[in-house]
Each structure stands twice: as structure tokens, then as C-alpha cells.
């Protein structure tokens, strides 16, 4: 009886020939990649653990993308995974940057130099991953610049926005990596045009912030009569009022790039106050968290340059040397001598 069973099993395996396996792989690929785009992305967007999102991108990215060997290219799922994986490299680059600043402060030129090399390597990795995410976005929705794509579902809109942000970030990181990733320099302007396809109010001011940031970084990109700084400020306020503060982070990054350091401090302070007052928008907690990490890095740069360490816990929005004690109010101390201290127990 056992022998009969074994023979039957062998027959079934033979019947499942290469064609049949291909069909099954294709079905599995379709289901997996659609599930990733339609459910995993919105779910991850609602979480506030950027580290976990980055790890998911690294762990699942290649697996998801490999289905292009057996079915349609899973551009939507790949876009999300690549952007998440890019954020891991971004975090490494930021850490290396802080190490470099600490070494400079401690007068350790070799350590500083090594940290700079490490930083550039990670910037290059981040640029490649963000660049790949941008490419997947253009393959899924078309290259921005012509007519707007049909964004049928909220998930489509989310992915489109992530793709646009990835485009901007790809160029920023590639410049920091001395162009190692070879990201085309027209990507930011294309991303800026694509941002016009999204409703600014619905997306917490991020599209207009992205646009204004590009106008500021590309000479002559701002349309006649537009004030990019005013746009950024309005976008930041809009986002803060709804608990999704990525636009403020973009504004702060632009202020830092323009060397407006006092304004950077003021904006970080406003950002920190908003986090105290307005809870994070539940559906887009991850984007808000990404904004936090960006602002925190800006703050860490200031703290590290001035003190050798990053922003202390709970001190985001404050800066070294500013929290000096209140001016001495001698009227409080007039005539106070204190009593004789009690003898110790």
C-alpha cells in the first residue's frame, strides 16, 4: 500500500511539469506583489517604526522584485521596498556624518576623514536605492511632466508621492556622494512637476513643499511671481495642523541648504512645539516619523558641532548655550542669609 502511495505521488510530481510550475509561480507572484502594494504599503505607512520599515525593505525587497522573472514587473511593490531600503542607507550616512563632526571637534583628522569616506559610501547606496525607487515610479505611473497619471486608489497616490520624494532624495544623496550613483540631474524638476498631480491639502502640504524645495535648489526653476520660502512656510503649517510634519522637515532641509542657520533653529523649535501639541496622523505615521528623523538629524548636527554629542533626549527644539539660566534676579536674594545648617543625622 505504501508503494502505491509513493507511485501516485511521483506521478503527480511528473504531471506538475515546468509549465505548470511557471503558472503557479506567476500566480504567486501576482498575489504577493499586489498584496504588498495594496496592503503592506498602507499598513507600514500607518506604523511609526522607521527602523522596522527600513529592515522590511531590505529583507523583502529582492524577494518581491524577483517575481518579475515570472510575471509583470512588480513596480508598485518594488517602489515601496526600495524607498524603505534607501532610508536604511540614509541613516548610516547620517551616523557617519555625526562621527565626522565629533572627530573634527576632537581634533582627530584621520578619524574625521575616515568618517567622511564612510558617509559618502552610504550616500551613494542611498542614492542608488532612491534612484531605483524613482525609476519604478516612472515605470508604474509614467514619467512626470506630461499629463497627470490616473491615480485610481489612495494607495496609488501614496506610492506616487513616495516616488516623487524618492526622486528628490536620490539627487540630494548623489550630490553628497560626488555623483557616484549617476542620478540624472533633471529628476528634481520632473518630481516638482509630478507634485502638481497631487492635492496639496490632502497630502499635508508635502507636494507644494517638494516643489518649493526644488525651485530653491535649481537656479531659475521657480515660476514668475512665486515665493518658494512663503510656499514652504505655508506647507509646513498645513502639515503641522494635521499631525503630518514632513513638509516642515523639507522646509528645514531647504533652510539649512541656504545657510539660513538662525531660521533653521527657529523652524526646529516650531516643529518640536507642534509634536507636543498635535498628535501624529494615524494613517501616515511613518511619513511623519521620517520627517522627525530628518529634523532630528538637523538638530544633531548643531548639537554635535557645538557640544560633541547629539540632541539630548527631550531636548529637540532647544540648542546648546541657549538654555542658560534666567538672568540673576537679585531682588529674590536680598537679605537672605539662611539659618545655621542642621547638624547631620
Amino acid at each position: 500500500m505504501r508503494l502505491v502511495n509513493r507511485l501516485c505521488a511521483l506521478g503527480a510530481l511528473l504531471a506538475l511539469g515546468p509549465g505548470c510550475r511557471g503558472f503557479m509561480y506567476g500566480q504567486t507572484g501576482d498575489v504577493t506583489t499586489h498584496f504588498a502594494a495594496e496592503h503592506v504599503t498602507p499598513f507600514v505607512m500607518s506604523t511609526d517604526d522607521a527602523e522596522m520599515a527600513c529592515a522590511s525593505g531590505l529583507a523583502m525587497g529582492n524577494f518581491t522584485m524577483s517575481f518579475e522573472r515570472v510575471t509583470d514587473r512588480p513596480n508598485r511593490a518594488a517602489l515601496s521596498a526600495l524607498a524603505s531600503a534607501a532610508s536604511c542607507a540614509e541613516a548610516h550616512a547620517w551616523e557617519a556624518e555625526l562621527r565626522s563632526l565629533r572627530a573634527l571637534r576632537a581634533n582627530q583628522p584621520e578619524e574625521a576623514q575616515d568618517a567622511r569616506v564612510e558617509e559618502k559610501r552610504w550616500h551613494a547606496v542611498a542614492a542608488r536605492r532612491y534612484g531605483a525607487a524613482w525609476t519604478r515610479m516612472t515605470q508604474a505611473f509614467g514619467t512626470p511632466g506630461g499629463t497627470c497619471p490616473t491615480l485610481e486608489t489612495p494607495e496609488d497616490e501614496t506610492l506616487y508621492l513616495v516616488g516623487l520624494i524618492a526622486g528628490g532624495q536620490a539627487v540630494t544623496h548623489d550630490r553628497a556622494a560626488e555623483g557616484q550613483a549617476g542620478i540624472a540631474l533633471d529628476v528634481p524638476r520632473l518630481a516638482a512637476r509630478g507634485s502638481e498631480c497631487l492635492d496639496d491639502a490632502r497630502w499635508f502640504g508635502v507636494p507644494s513643499a517638494l516643489r518649493a524645495a526644488v525651485w530653491l535648489s535649481v537656479p531659475g526653476a521657480a515660476p514668475e511671481g512665486e515665493d518658494p520660502w512663503a510656499r514652504l512656510a505655508a506647507a509646513a503649517e498645513l502639515g503641522e495642523s494635521k499631525g503630518m510634519r514632513l513638509a516642515r522637515a523639507i522646509q528645514i532641509e531647504s533652510l539649512a541648504a541656504a545657510g539660513r542657520l538662525e531660521d533653521v533653529r527657529a523652524a526646529i523649535k516650531t516643529y518640536a512645539e507642534s509634536r507636543e501639541k498635535t498628535p501624529t496622523h494615524g494613517a501616515f505615521a511613518l511619513l511623519d516619523q521620517n520627517g522627525l528623523l530628518l529634523v532630528q538629524q538637523m538638530s544633531d548636527r548643531i548639537w554635535t558641532r557645538e557640544t560633541g554629542h547629539r540632541t539630548p533626549l527631550g531636548a529637540l527644539g532647544t540648542f546648546p548655550g541657549v538654555a542658560a539660566p534666567a538672568t540673576e534676579d537679585t531682588s529674590l536674594f536680598e537679605g537672605l542669609g539662611g539659618d545655621t545648617p542642621a547638624s547631620a543625622p
Binding site: 554629542h309 539630548p312 533626549l313 527631550g314 531636548a315 532647544t318 538654555a323 542658560a324 539660566p325 534666567a326 540673576e328 534676579d329 537679585t330 531682588s331 529674590l332 536674594f333 537679605g335 537672605l336 542669609g337 539662611g338 539659618d339 545655621t340 545648617p341 542642621a342 547631620a344 543625622p345
Partner: protein, 337 residues
């Protein structure tokens, strides 16, 4: 001659190097830290930051956690530690001025406490913190102290008459107050007062909000109890050193660091207040609050003049801070403190 010159150069180079490494290492000092949760508690965690800051001022602290405050104080007194972190209640036994900061009803908000700490971190304030025997190197917020009652119907002072209140046995100020309201004093220590409240051995106990969850005092209020929304005092943790153990410059740096970081630590303790469910709080009528303010002042004066528990100078300082914040208070014209 050349060899002698080389030898001298070598000796000078070696001494310079030795001097540099000594400066880098800093002066070794011991710090005894009282934290009810030991090395895993918020206070010990805070001292790790303080230790890191102190290394920049040339002091390398070796911090040792104590879960028993009395032992920490005794070890400090016996010279086993150069400095100690204690609650202000215990500090009062060493340094009357600094310990009187937690005088009952004398600091009515966190803002006022912050003002006092900031002012005491200035050079003029620092002079008040240095006595011939002890020097206070920092003051940190431990949270507003609230009255926990097992029966929320006890919401006025007259109703406390005859009730059993867990009272720290070394806290002379609290003992005086308990007697003043006609309650029955049940001696307790930091290790057992919460348990006594939870199991009904006492009807009331006083503690900061951190006791609600960390010491499970929610159990004691769960069956019809509550927490009176009136700040009895502000617990603080203070770093006390023997005068001369540290330089004046170090002491000033340490006090300034504490004041600069006050907001950060304040947020932690204020969160404890915010985490107490709204339904647990017992609101006190405005008219009653004024009566209690007057009653607390009466007790403070007695503790200053008769029992000599509170420091006259600190009470004056706190009255001035209260009157800056609320100039309309009746006591501002009377100036009894």
C-alpha cells in the same frame, strides 16, 4: 653635554605626557545615588548624564546605586562618598536651606520650582547653597506631591481628622502637619508606605504621581478613592557634597547643568501627573484652596519658628517667587515669611 640635553628633553616630554593623561582622566570622585529602583531607575539614569557632563569639568565620577536612602546618607556622612543624591526630605537633615525647598504648600507650580532652581544656579544663588559643611551641586524635580485617599469623600481637611496617614518617620514637617489636621500618624518609610496604603493599613498617603503606577498606588484608590488636586509640596532630588570636596567652579558648573536640563527632567515628572486618569483626581473648591494656603502657611511658620525644621531664608525666597507669579495673594502684603 648632548646626552644630558636629550635626557632633559625626554624627562620634560614624559612629564608633559603624564600631566596630559592625568588631565584627560579627571579627578576620581565617588557619587552615592539613592534611587528607589536602583541602577535601573530614572534618578540613576540622570546621574549617568551628569557623570558625562562632569568629565568635561575634570571630574570622573564613580556612581554607586542605593535602594535604601538612609544607607546612602549614612555612607555619605561616613565619608564613603564624595557626593550623594538624596530626596530633599533627607537633604534637609544636612542642608536646611536646600532641604526647605520642599516646604509644604510653598511652591505651587512647576514654573515656580523652575524659577527657584534657575536662580539658585546663578553665582549669587550658589552662595546660598554653600555652607561651611555642605555644598549643593544640583537640584532636580522629583514631582509634585499629592495626597492619595482610599475614600474620595474625604475631600476637605476637616474630614482628615481621625484618619490614619502613612508618614515618613524622619519627616518632621509632615508629622507636624498630620498632627495639625487631627489625623492619626502611622510611621512609614519609602519602602513600605505604598503597600500600607494599598492594603488599607492607612487611609491616606502622600507621594508624587510616579507612585500611582510604579508603586501600584492605583490599587489603593481603585475602590472609591482618589488623589486630591492640591500640590502639597515639590519633591526634589539634590546632589550634596562636603564643602571643599569639589572646586567652586565645578560646583557652579554642576548647578548650571542641572538648571539647563531642568525642562527635560520636568517633562518626565509632569508626564507622571498627566498619566493619572482624570476620574481619579479630586478637584478642590477654590474657596477651600485659599483656606488650605493659609493653613499651610501657619504650619510653615510654626516649623520655622518653633520646631526649627524649615530655613527662614528659603521660606522668604519661596514667598517672593510665589508673589512674583501671583502678586494678588494676600500673603504678599503681609510678608510673614
Amino acid at each position: 653635554m648632548r646626552s644630558l640635553h636629550r635626557l632633559i628633553t625626554l624627562v620634560v616630554a614624559c612629564s608633559t605626557l603624564l600631566g596630559a593623561s592625568a588631565a584627560l582622566a579627571g579627578t576620581a570622585k565617588s557619587l552615592c545615588v539613592y534611587d528607589p529602583s536602583g541602577a535601573n531607575g530614572d534618578i540613576f539614569n540622570l546621574t549617568k548624564d551628569f557623570k558625562a557632563a562632569a568629565s568635561a569639568w575634570g571630574v570622573d565620577f564613580n556612581a554607586k546605586p542605593y535602594t535604601d536612602e538612609k544607607t546612602a546618607a549614612e555612607d555619605f556622612k561616613a565619608g564613603k562618598c564624595d557626593a550623594v543624591v538624596l530626596t530633599s526630605t533627607r537633604v534637609r537633615l544636612f542642608h536646611k536651606f536646600a532641604g526647605s525647598l520642599e516646604a509644604m504648600g510653598a511652591v505651587t507650580s512647576y514654573d515656580q520650582l523652575q524659577t527657584v532652581v534657575q536662580q539658585l544656579s546663578t553665582p549669587a544663588g550658589g552662595k546660598l547653597l554653600k555652607t561651611p559643611e555642605y555644598d549643593v551641586l544640583g537640584i532636580y524635580p522629583g514631582g509634585a506631591v499629592w495626597l492619595y485617599v482610599r475614600d474620595r469623600k474625604v475631600d476637605t481637611v476637616p474630614e482628615l481628622a481621625g484618619k490614619r496617614i502613612a508618614t515618613l518617620d524622619y519627616d518632621d514637617a509632615a508629622k507636624t502637619m498630620v498632627r495639625h489636621v487631627g489625623a492619626s500618624l502611622v510611621p512609614a518609610d519609602l519602602g513600605n508606605f505604598a503597600g500600607m496604603f494599598n492594603n488599607g493599613s492607612v487611609d491616606a498617603a502622600y507621594a508624587p504621581a510616579i507612585g500611582y503606577k510604579a508603586l501600584e498606588m492605583h490599587k489603593g484608590v481603585s475602590k472609591g478613592g482618589g488623589i486630591a488636586k492640591y500640590i502639597l509640596s515639590h519633591l526634589t532630588f539634590q546632589v550634596v557634597a562636603k564643602t571643599g570636596a569639589f572646586t567652586d567652579e565645578f560646583a557652579q558648573n554642576a548647578r548650571k547643568w542641572g538648571a539647563d536640563n531642568f525642562t527635560r527632567f520636568r517633562k518626565v515628572v509632569e508626564k507622571g501627573d498627566q498619566d493619572i486618569p482624570k476620574a481619579v483626581w479630586i478637584d478642590i473648591a477654590a474657596g477651600d484652596k485659599e483656606k488650605y494656603d493659609a493653613m499651610f502657611q501657619e504650619v510653615r511658620l510654626r516649623l520655622r519658628d518653633e520646631s526649627k525644621v524649615y530655613d527662614k531664608g528659603m521660606l522668604t525666597l519661596l514667598r517672593r517667587v510665589r508673589c512674583k507669579a501671583e502678586p494678588a495673594r494676600a500673603e504678599c502684603a503681609e510678608q510673614k515669611e
